[in-house]
Symmetry: C2
Subunit: 196 residues, 2 copies
């Protein structure tokens, strides 16, 4: 939004600064944004090459104006068949999914598609490093969950007809990723501890 | 599309079969389609997990109709900062770019962005397998070019102020990928020979 006199926009900005000074909280940034910033730092440090894959889109209609860029006039979001992020770290293939929930005690399974679980399982079979980063936004808690752990938890839930994973399971089987600065979600620290 | 009586769908299918029987030619399919089909077979065979990344799009306007899927009403194509395909094979990170040209003797450098070359160079430094698959569509010739070879050729061209790579360089420094069936572009055969 553009505010001609700038008041509202300025107000927003100063609120945000004030919050950051007090708490270093990640509020206001999505998990995806936090991970993108972290990946950019990894890339600049020559530590890892990990990117978010673009959102898959089904394009239906494109308009090609003369002398300017093509405009997509009609398109739809497609379901993802793989995970959000992949790349290379220490010579190893890295692949992970990132998800947020506003729920305070449970992570709904509906957030992860069966295609994505199949993909994670295939990556593990081929020797890749595969995991999920899951944030409970209301609690400001971000967890690292190994791929096989997530797959096992999902199977356990299904066998007892539950539609979500309880946060207790995250606390006992996952790893909290602290919010740090400037690497907001420094997940490779946990990768180092677990796999190297 | 659903055809209630199945005629059109059947007709299409038999045309396709007929063509394939006669010439085994890849005409009519883009390089990207050929690679996607090949990757699907690799995936089903449990040989490798390699996917095309979706085209990056800048979404400007989305319309959310009640009771039906969101429609993107305005969006633009963004420049790619990485390559088209990546994944895992034999536990190794695989990353490559696929390009076509209608030119018969030269591959124009304008087809590959500097960001993509930087990305390929970073992947090689991190120990990934990185290459390009380039098709001269008019000649029906598809080449496999190792990442470092492509980077060297581009630098050579730039140093002598040429804007394209001559097909002679592909013949002397690349590897022809024969069109085969059902794996239309069986590039992992060349990966096997070069790296395993």
């Amino acid at each position: 939004m553009n505010y001609p006199n700038g008041t509202k926009a300025k107000q927003k900005l100063s609120n945000k600064n004030a919050k950051q000074k007090v708490s270093y909280s990640n509020r206001g940034m999505t998990l995806e944004e936090d991970i993108n910033i972290t990946n950019e730092i990894y890339l600049n440090e020559n530590k890892a090459v990990i990117h978010k894959k673009p959102t898959p889109i089904q394009i239906v209609d494109v308009y090609y104006p003369k002398r300017s860029a093509a405009v997509i006039k009609e398109a739809y979001f497609k379901a993802k068949s793989t995970t959000d992020f992949n790349g290379i770290y220490q010579g190893r293939y890295i692949d992970f999914e990132a998800k947020e929930t506003k729920n305070k005690t449970r992570f709904p399974l509906a957030n992860i598609h069966s295609h994505q679980i199949e993909h994670m399982s295939a990556i593990l079979k081929h020797g890749g490093l595969c995991f999920a980063i899951i944030r409970f936004t209301t609690l400001d808690s971000t967890y690292f969950l190994e791929g096989q752990t997530l797959i096992n938890l999902i199977e356990k839930c299904k066998s007892i007809k539950q539609k979500s994973i309880h946060i207790d399971d995250f606390n006992s089987q996952g790893y909290l990723i602290p919010f740090t600065y400037p690497k907001r979600i420094d997940y490779l620290k946990i990768v180092d501890q677990l796999y190297f």
